[in-house]
Symmetry: C3
Subunit: 144 residues, 3 copies
């Protein structure tokens, strides 16, 4: 069984944001998937998706601090016409990647207890972000 949905995430401030429920909720066919994979793909080059700790906002703030220091706005960039936050956003987007593939079992994402999906917004004013969710799965009753 296959399902595919395009999800529009509302504009967020630069930083890291938990969107697990928002993206999983947009794929109602998940509950009928006995075994499968959910693929999430962001259709942008200045934002990304990653999986990390879903409890403490401190973790997400520290992500922003580290990535800002590792890929600084003041650097030997040549592509500067779209603003100082643009080229760092491109590099961060590739370091973290545009997609996640998540295992599905018994009608749910088989994540670890502390794992959540982050939208990584690398622009100061990125606007809404488009995510394509593709579910491929074997249907049927969950195994006992």
């Amino acid at each position: 069984m296959w399902a595919q949905h395009e999800i529009t995430l509302r504009p967020r401030a630069r930083g890291f944001h938990l969107v697990t429920d928002e993206v999983a909720g947009a794929v109602p066919e998940l509950r009928d998937a006995r075994v499968g994979l959910l693929h999430l793909f962001i259709r942008h080059t200045s934002a990304s998706l990653t999986l990390n700790e879903n409890a403490s906002p401190d973790v997400r703030r520290d992500f922003e601090t580290w990535f800002g220091a590792a890929v600084p706005e003041r650097f030997d960039w040549t592509h500067t016409i779209e603003g100082p936050d643009d080229m760092p956003a491109h590099v961060k987007a590739s370091l973290l990647g545009p997609s996640l593939s998540l295992p599905v079992a018994g009608g749910r994402l088989a994540l670890g207890t502390w794992q959540g999906v982050y939208l990584c917004e690398h622009r100061d004013d990125g606007g809404p972000r488009s995510v394509v969710a593709t579910l491929m799965a074997q249907g049927g009753e969950p195994a006992a």
Copy 2:
């Protein structure tokens, strides 16, 4: 055809460890897969999976050295209650990623000669690690 297994990797020291045979061996259905993908997913936010050079232990030691320097314990972290190795572990986990998707051909992983699966243990005392292996494939005889 679909198969899914949960694999428990025994505790390892902080660093990078070759686990190719251990994870592939846990999916006996691989040998019946003519064309497919094997998805490996670690259910943690302070350890990760990557693919790299499978021969020299020097490479794995140099990975630890570089990641330790790039994501240091002494930094402007705010999330410090779980110890100095915790926040760097979260960042390293997202830089390397929680999953690998590997092509399968003719009943085997279609890796390059020098490619091996690394368990990347970013905590000093991470304990056992849980990996979900999901195989999706077309069965039948290998093509001639």
Copy 3:
């Protein structure tokens, strides 16, 4: 429906190179895929694949500058027998990753307007590079 092709990319200079059309064109079954995923996998540990801005060559040059600074040749490496560009290439390969999973819709890659596939060549003289393309999809007419 499944299809799998091995693609040989001609040798490129160290740096980041747009190869979207080259890899998509090697999978003619794409046009018959209504919904699916295209998985691209590079069979090397010193080159990688990523997705980023497909318009400006400046962006690709800035990628090379940043990665060269972040993972320098002069560092505390122990694995040096294959030359000064070897160990940085391994680390860059894992930071960017060996594979991409791209959504397919209506017989085409469902990429964003500005997204293109980069071959990331991290060696000075990497030679030809082998990529395995695996398409898994549901066939049939595109939805209206």
